[in-house]
Amino acid sequence: MYKATVVIKRRPSILDPQGKAVEKGAAHLGISNVRNTRIGKYIEFVVDTNDKQEAEKEVEEYCKKLLANPIMEDFEFTLNKES
């Protein structure tokens, strides 16, 4: 079994109004040096196979077809063997 962790980021060319608004909040708190706040997603799940290649293929497909929208998002994932 593998544990998958997926990080989905907004592509650099896409504006992130949410990140901008959050950064304004930081300024109100007196946190003044943070820049380029961008908000993404962190997703974790297990993949029920012991074949790493199969797991990779399935996670890739899950990311491409559902978890991320390639028009506006990039994704990366890691797989860790679990006993």
């Binding site: 060319s13 896409i14 504006l15 109004p17 949410q18 608004a21 559902l66 978890l67 929208n69 028009i71 506006m72």
Partner: protein
């Protein structure tokens, strides 16, 4: 005149399905049926409406999960065979996720949910949805948090070159300005059509502007144009 039969898809979380049903049936007098998202039968519909709402709670991304509903396979086949599909608000977002229309929706620039009447400039009056509409500007409400249309430069060029931008946000005189844009949508896009001209997506709600009792009736023009053009 033969009138079209409409099918309104009901996803979990749709909340404009009854508005669409009511507008089409009671206000315009066309035949209409609800289509359950788990079914695979389009019940002989000539037009499929994907209504507004928050299908699947807008989880992950708007429209991302609804796009894989069993009925969507049929809707995609129907569209690929030239069937008329109209996505309103969340329905537009579902069409984008399904790849039936290009681009994505981002959060409104203001980050706020915007609910108000807007004016739309009819940019292409030669589609099945707008031919003979007789007006250049329509007053129709919007109600969305993610209506900020985005497409990459090449896609946008294509949309413009092929006259696929059908509606833009405008002033009551039909001028398109940055100030009037309610959500930050690229070049003020409010509605687009696919290249073939059978799949329309629009963020504004024409079904909420069909009743004289609401003092808003410009939505009727779109449904009427469709009914008049669909079999020609």
């Amino acid at each position: 005149m033969k009138v079209p039969k409409f099918g309104v898809v009901v996803f979990p979380g749709s909340n404009c399905d009854h508005d669409a049903y009511y507008a089409v049936k009671k206000e315009l007098g066309y035949d209409v049926e609800f289509l359950w998202h788990k079914d695979r039968d389009l019940k002989g519909s000539d037009v499929i409406i994907l209504p507004g709402g928050f299908s699947y709670g807008d989880y992950l991304r708007t429209g991302a999960i609804a796009r894989f509903s069993p009925i969507m396979n049929e809707v995609i086949n129907f569209a690929e065979n030239g069937g008329k599909v109209m996505g309103i608000c969340n329905g537009f977002q579902i069409l984008l996720e399904a790849g039936l229309l290009p681009g994505v929706m981002l959060k409104n620039k203001s980050l706020q949910f915007v609910c108000k009447d807007v004016y739309l400039s009819v940019e292409n009056n030669n589609t099945v949805y707008t031919k003979g509409i007789g007006k250049n500007v329509l007053k129709v409400p919007i109600a969305h948090g993610e209506g900020n249309y985005f497409a990459d430069e090449n896609t946008l060029k294509d949309l413009v070159a092929n006259n696929q931008v059908v509606f833009k946000y405008a002033t009551s005189e039909g001028n398109i300005t940055d100030e009037i844009n309610p959500n930050g949508s690229t070049i003020g896009i409010a509605g687009i059509i696919n290249k073939r001209g059978n799949v329309l997506g629009m963020m504004p709600h024409p079904e909420r502007a069909c009743s004289p009792a609401l003092h808003k009736t410009d939505g009727r023009f779109i449904f009427k144009a469709l009914a008049e053009n669909i079999f020609n």
